[in-house]
């Protein structure tokens, strides 16, 4: 191989790798649905425990969780039809699965340690951190800002404790679902 041919091959490799470094296009759908689920859980806890609402209200977030899981099954099937699965896609999937599993373990098995709003805060912390990570990984300002908003809602809830559920719910709706809507609109315009 001559120097000219080597240069040609290296330029081709550079082109292919530069293309791969472009930010992965985050999908807004999962953000929207899990933001709504998180908000519904916080609102249900606020209304049932602090405002003595009927416990049957807990069915609403439970139904939404079931809907979100069904949505994710179809979403995963649609992703499998694509021609390529990037390493970034795998990392994004893994980080949200880990966030979801940790939050679920805390909710189901950590009720004595994570009492009152701690469970809601853990959900916000896990999903907010996952969004921050995805924002950094894919250089997506929308995901990063949304994640920051979800985490900031924990601090705001801490200083307005009687309304913690409303504030954490607003964090999920604005930070996560809002980011999902913005990502969907950005994709549509792109």
């Amino acid at each position: 191989m001559g120097a000219l041919e080597a240069q040609d091959h290296l330029q081709m490799v550079d082109r292919i790798l530069s293309r791969a470094e472009e930010p992965a296009c985050l999908n807004g759908g999962p953000f929207i649905i899990w933001g709504v689920v998180g908000a519904a859980m916080d609102l249900a806890v606020q209304v049932v425990f602090l405002q003595k609402g009927p416990p049957s209200l807990f069915w609403l977030p439970a139904i939404l969780v079931a809907c979100a899981i069904v949505f994710m099954v179809f979403f995963a099937a649609r992703m499998a039809k694509r021609g390529r699965r990037g390493v970034l896609d795998r990392h994004i999937g893994n980080v949200f699965v880990i966030a979801w599993i940790v939050a679920l373990i805390v909710m189901l098995l950590g009720a004595h340690i994570f009492t009152e709003w701690a469970q809601g805060a853990v959900w916000s912390l896990m999903f907010g951190s996952a969004m921050l990570f995805c924002g950094l990984l894919t250089r997506s300002r929308i995901s990063f800002t949304g994640g920051a908003a979800v985490i900031l809602s924990i601090i705001a809830a801490n200083f307005a404790y009687p309304y913690a559920g409303y504030i954490l719910a607003a964090g999920f709706l604005i930070g996560m679902s809002g980011a999902g809507v913005a990502l969907t609109l950005a994709r549509g315009n792109g």
Partner: protein
Amino acid sequence: MDELLLSKIRLGAIAELLSSEWITFPTLVRSLGTTNGNLGAHLLKLVDAGYVNEEKTFVDKRPQTRYRLTRRGREAFKKHVGEMQTLLRKAI
């Protein structure tokens, strides 16, 4: 230098697979701007050398062939690119 990677198509296929967990055959054909037959023959050599894994799956009841880069293929690519860079530096 790695003789298998002297081919531009094979080198391009490895570079495409480097940043992906897997890529389907038609996507690789489009990305590399080649023909099915040509790419099929090149990929066969990469699979035989253990640089690339071939997986046959079904999506919507249709067969789908996916390719993944192996650790051996990744190492070979890094070494080959390093050697090409050395060659270029010496020539300049």
